[in-house]
Symmetry: D2
Subunit: 343 residues, 4 copies
Amino acid sequence: MIIVMKSSAGRKELAEVKKRIRELGYKPHVIHGTTRNVVGAVGDERGKAVLQTLQTLPGVESVVPILKPYKLAGREVKPEPTLVEIVPGLVVGGEEFVVMAGPCSVECESQILETARAVKAAGARLLRGGAFKPRTSPYAFQGLEEEGLKLLALAREETGLPVVTEVVNPRDVELVARYADVMQVGARNVQNFALLKMLGQLDKPILLKRGMSTTIQEYLMSAEYILAEGNRRVILCERGIRTFETATRNTLDIAAVPVLKNQTHLPVIVDPSHATGHAHLVPPMCYAAAAAGADGLIVEVHPHPEDAASDGPQSLRPEDFRQMMTRLAAFTDAAGRTLNGAD
Amino acid sequence: MIIVMKSSAGRKELAEVKKRIRELGYKPHVIHGTTRNVVGAVGDERGKAVLQTLQTLPGVESVVPILKPYKLAGREVKPEPTLVEIVPGLVVGGEEFVVMAGPCSVECESQILETARAVKAAGARLLRGGAFKPRTSPYAFQGLEEEGLKLLALAREETGLPVVTEVVNPRDVELVARYADVMQVGARNVQNFALLKMLGQLDKPILLKRGMSTTIQEYLMSAEYILAEGNRRVILCERGIRTFETATRNTLDIAAVPVLKNQTHLPVIVDPSHATGHAHLVPPMCYAAAAAGADGLIVEVHPHPEDAASDGPQSLRPEDFRQMMTRLAAFTDAAGRTLNGAD
Amino acid sequence: MIIVMKSSAGRKELAEVKKRIRELGYKPHVIHGTTRNVVGAVGDERGKAVLQTLQTLPGVESVVPILKPYKLAGREVKPEPTLVEIVPGLVVGGEEFVVMAGPCSVECESQILETARAVKAAGARLLRGGAFKPRTSPYAFQGLEEEGLKLLALAREETGLPVVTEVVNPRDVELVARYADVMQVGARNVQNFALLKMLGQLDKPILLKRGMSTTIQEYLMSAEYILAEGNRRVILCERGIRTFETATRNTLDIAAVPVLKNQTHLPVIVDPSHATGHAHLVPPMCYAAAAAGADGLIVEVHPHPEDAASDGPQSLRPEDFRQMMTRLAAFTDAAGRTLNGAD
Amino acid sequence: MIIVMKSSAGRKELAEVKKRIRELGYKPHVIHGTTRNVVGAVGDERGKAVLQTLQTLPGVESVVPILKPYKLAGREVKPEPTLVEIVPGLVVGGEEFVVMAGPCSVECESQILETARAVKAAGARLLRGGAFKPRTSPYAFQGLEEEGLKLLALAREETGLPVVTEVVNPRDVELVARYADVMQVGARNVQNFALLKMLGQLDKPILLKRGMSTTIQEYLMSAEYILAEGNRRVILCERGIRTFETATRNTLDIAAVPVLKNQTHLPVIVDPSHATGHAHLVPPMCYAAAAAGADGLIVEVHPHPEDAASDGPQSLRPEDFRQMMTRLAAFTDAAGRTLNGAD
């Protein structure tokens, strides 16, 4: 932590800052500048928000943190990439570029079975589908809940595809965990710390989506909540951030992929469906994600987007998904990754 | 809902759109333009996300909603302002400009009692204080939990100030409700719909903070979740939104006050502490809130900001709070509101 | 400047950084931390972007500037407020709260004369009106150019109100200066450095609007461009920044007022018309600006908003402006400022 | 244009709106809804900001534009892609993926010659380099001006690479045009309409960068300024937008590439250097741009980034650029584009 003194601060204010730094368990180290002094507080500052309070002392202009606030999520602690095993033979973060696909919401048996078969045939390795849906409107379809989970399990039985599905309420963690292979935390819950803590105690991979206004650093702190509880199988997912631009539903922060890969050992996938909100923009963003170094994708696919209970406009039809997967292979090749071939 | 057709769309596409509108229970109404056609879908579109799927039909360029998506929160359904009674004689949304104040976190008995006495003496009408703290870092102070709630109850007993405190986990709603007079939903939980639904079933006022990247419309939809469950005592709170500017912790969207007052009958208060992040910016934002037409404030006050377990830099000292309240009276007067006088 | 080393950096990298700091004319000062070292570069770093290049050296994680990059605009160099005299007896930044008002564009003689008389009668002290209009669309009305300037001069002659008007092209600076009392730089030109430099050589007050995505620091650097050329009469103007919120045209960053007043000695006014985009939101934002400590306002007024060539929806009618001014007096009183009374 | 009436609006207000629509030269067409009426104004609304003023009439809730405001820039007017010829045999927007590279600023003869040779050898097709530099600080290096242009011309003579360089002042257009093959408009000047109009009268390709807070629609309107003056050779360039995220200098809006390709016939390239601000993030963003369907790149390369007068941290060293180009080929192949081979 660096404490920047005001140019008007005198010896007394400086002495007070040094005293306070010592009281908090750090060692002060002053650099006398030409127009102002700065004081380094030497010691491990992580998690000690309390150092920020130095800002309230007279003569202090600002307090600048030096260390990254996360530990377990960082490359410094663990330089080698984390390989998250979903089921034997299926790993996210390794050589394979892993595609997850399926409808926004599970709607009925035929819908989920038809989609599961189609995405499997095209090369998807996991089936996505929402049973508990966080919807902006209380009047919108809220998901089939446990009935939806059962249908996902049925689709898994039929196709062999492991299942990723969202949990929104700490109360439902146990229920969802009975059915899901990967537990998804949606963008709106990225700082639902009660939920994150419970998931940290689970022995199951977690797909943690970035929030729509979460900085990279805050995002890694959310991952840290899960890691700190003991669950090390966290998959990150860039899904677009909120900006002034309205041509797309969100703005896909594609540079977040290499930024994250640089700062953390956790795998990073991309959700081009929520990022763009328009089906015709999904394929180019799939290719861009592979090119940028992502470890995989999660893509919305619906057999009849015009009838979808949610997110129809951003869902690919099975045929479009198949074509995207075919073209995708050239990009994952170029990126030095393997892609599961279509049947 | 207005469906805008592409200029290249022909009769067949138009017929398909009309057919589909009818199937969904609306009446289509075509306007033939000079370069393209638009189709109105007449009927109550609220809550029917399904109309958005028309966007997936061939020849459709975009789908533009016309109705506001909320019902119960809107002025059209209930033109007169909602008066939220906290305890007999204390109403938010009426003539009185109501100030809530207290520390970010409850830390110990002496801290909360000292603060409660000081803010009461200066004219505050409710005591704020966090017992369950949603913190970005898992290593930061997470609140005293039930012990904190008990200390708040003690301070209420001693000063007579009703208590507003945050709940973050649906599991804790019942517990917090046993102690709190007003249940606070923090910015990070504004779209924690599981929590909102539970609070909608409570017979207690809810202070619902705007999220840091929540639009006005989404914000009112979150209020709608509570209202739709039957709890009509919702207080809104503008607390700053996330923008590119880093000089302040968030950007106080002061115009949100008249925008909200125009669209909804619910009372609107302002949180200048989280909005700015710096104590010296809090008083001018308090005055601006009163001038903009807010119904009150929620302000962080700490007897010793330099020792605060959280949010020290943005907390007013009791003496600064007292001075702010003294100056505030002139602004609430100018706004035609009354302010509880200091002792 | 603080150079943060990577935790993996060794002695050799550190030595290289120190050597480089010395070469650039600074004195290196190392703080040995528990997990990493940081190096202070002591010396006046302002304007020396070159120190940022230390970031390219091996072993360097980041480079953190300590000094504010502006000099002349800062409070540290000139603690007392700058009083900008417009004409004898009219000063912005002093005790008087100065209101500038008028139409977005000058359209014709009757429009500008009618408006000038009305805003003067209501207490405005300057007349605003655009002759050169920067419009998003090439097909929109681009202003009357010199003809507009002549009409402004006519209105000044008739009412005695000094005139503030925008200049968009360095080529037109001389022309506009022949007519204007205050030269306005619009939001889109806040980083049109060629224009700023020319205005810095003028002996005339400059009204410099903040850009829609300009940080406070960048904004002050733009003011510095004018000040550095010798013109010290710069008036700042917060007019809303671009955010994700679409309920208003821009988001009025009201906290920018005290932030700026704290960092600079230059006067700060507020433009509630462009900030909100809706006439009914303008009065509450005028009151909020006065309460937040602004030195004045610039408000769009049009006798017939429904016929305005530009910005009709955000223009007040003369009668609404008069009412606003009447209510405003109570807020400027509360803020300890005087307001020019209506006739 | 669709005019949405308030639910409280009566027959009189509706009649007034219809009358006004007719006066403005449109045909009104009313759709009677269940809770409110909407009125379509049939006719070509482009460039007629004046319709927006309907918003000021009593009983009107909002005015929703239907047509895109640009004409010449749109796909509807010209469906086939525009091929911008730079010099005979070099076309942007065709089959070839065109890479432009060079230093941020031209600093001296050896620097620009060394860079020009290196980027040519690696496969670049144009040389970039700034002679007029728009810098945030008035104390930062402002460019070599005409001396810089001469050095660029020298480098062109020596290597055969056409030159792209920025113009910031309308006054310098003629001067820069004497040396440059492509005239660049920087992000800060995207709405410098005086400059755009002059460039529209030039017979030379224009590289128009997106502004940091320019929407796609505003961006195309800026292109329209150039096109409307007669110059049809406009190249667009996505270079990152300003958001809350600070891990990168800007946020590369990669989805803007397919969005633009869909709406306009103009070619679109990407600037990964300004978008990210960090050299190590540049190569993955180059690959992502190719994958997303861009027509080329403009990349900053400097032989000694640690000595660069500007933008050192985001400049690739020649060796890194060469490696990037080598890997890039696989991605342009996958995208069905050709890349100029290295020597």
